[in-house]
Point group: C6
Chain length 74, copies 6
């Protein structure tokens, strides 16, 4: 099964989770080694600017997911 | 209850507050420890570029929220 | 009264001013102390990259405001 | 007269020039002193990353201007 | 044959792969030497912020691809 | 003749090339000296983060060009 079968979600919160998943997947595709990513995670989880940068990526992906779901207006 | 039940808000100002909430939630999901986030907050709240970066994330999320609300034009 | 009663403005220039206001408000919400912000201002107002970063945030907010006003085409 | 009477331009090239103007105006509003800006200009005009950052801001503003002009398709 | 014959893809996952391809192509056009890119890859694949930056570019391109495919809603 | 007569291109690949052109033009307008740009090019073409930043600008401009061409769907 695909890791990304659809951009549709039932709720905004699920859409936000999908945005996080999309953000992490690009990292995983560039650095496939789980252990390396895990150690890097410690770095950026304790650095304010790194966290802000990560939040920016989520925000960008959330734009896409929200639009795909017509902002869950329907 | 969901932390994000809807992207709809009554006013632009509430929409802006929601954009801030969205920006912080991504940080919280990456660094769930309240104390760590609190200490990091001190770092970036006193650094001009960090504040600008944070404002950029809010701006990105505000785009999403504003569009979800049809810019509160109705 | 709300600091953000509407995204509608009469002219593009007023829309640009609103974009600046939106950009600064996120900073203010993160660093509410006026004196601290004032001293930080000196830092980034004299650093080329800081100014470019600030301009990027304004550009992002101006996208939102311009769209809210249908680009003042009407 | 306003420095930004309209987002409409006759040609894409004029639209690009307007995007540059919008990008610089945010800098000017933050650092109004001409001489300071002039000396900072020397800094970033000789730094590859600074130039890339500046180009990113222009790209963001060009999105707005291009959309305002319906991509000069008409 | 073109490396980019179309922005249409059958599935969201293929769209995401295309977004990665678009992100890497700009790098390739700036640094065409395979060996140099390969050695740089090692650098950024082991740096948290570099990976986040790369993920941001993918997110930006994924916005384009997703919109081109009408979010695979049809 | 204008360096940017239109945003319309026949193919996605040509659109991508135009996005690169738009990205470089902003740099050229800020640093018009060919020799300086050429020497800076060496800097950023050998730095992973600089290349990622450049790719981000291309992605932003490609959003504009792709939308101007209705994603080459027609």
């Amino acid at each position: 099964m695909s890791w990304l079968p659809t951009l549709q979600t039932n709720t905004p919160e699920q859409g936000y989770e999908l945005a996080i998943k999309l953000s992490r997947m690009a990292v995983k595709k560039t650095q496939p080694d789980d252990e390396t990513r895990s150690s890097l995670r410690h770095d950026y989880a304790n650095n304010a600017d790194s966290l802000t940068m990560a939040s920016h990526v989520v925000a960008t992906n959330f734009q896409t997911v929200a639009q795909a779901n017509n902002y869950w207006r329907d």
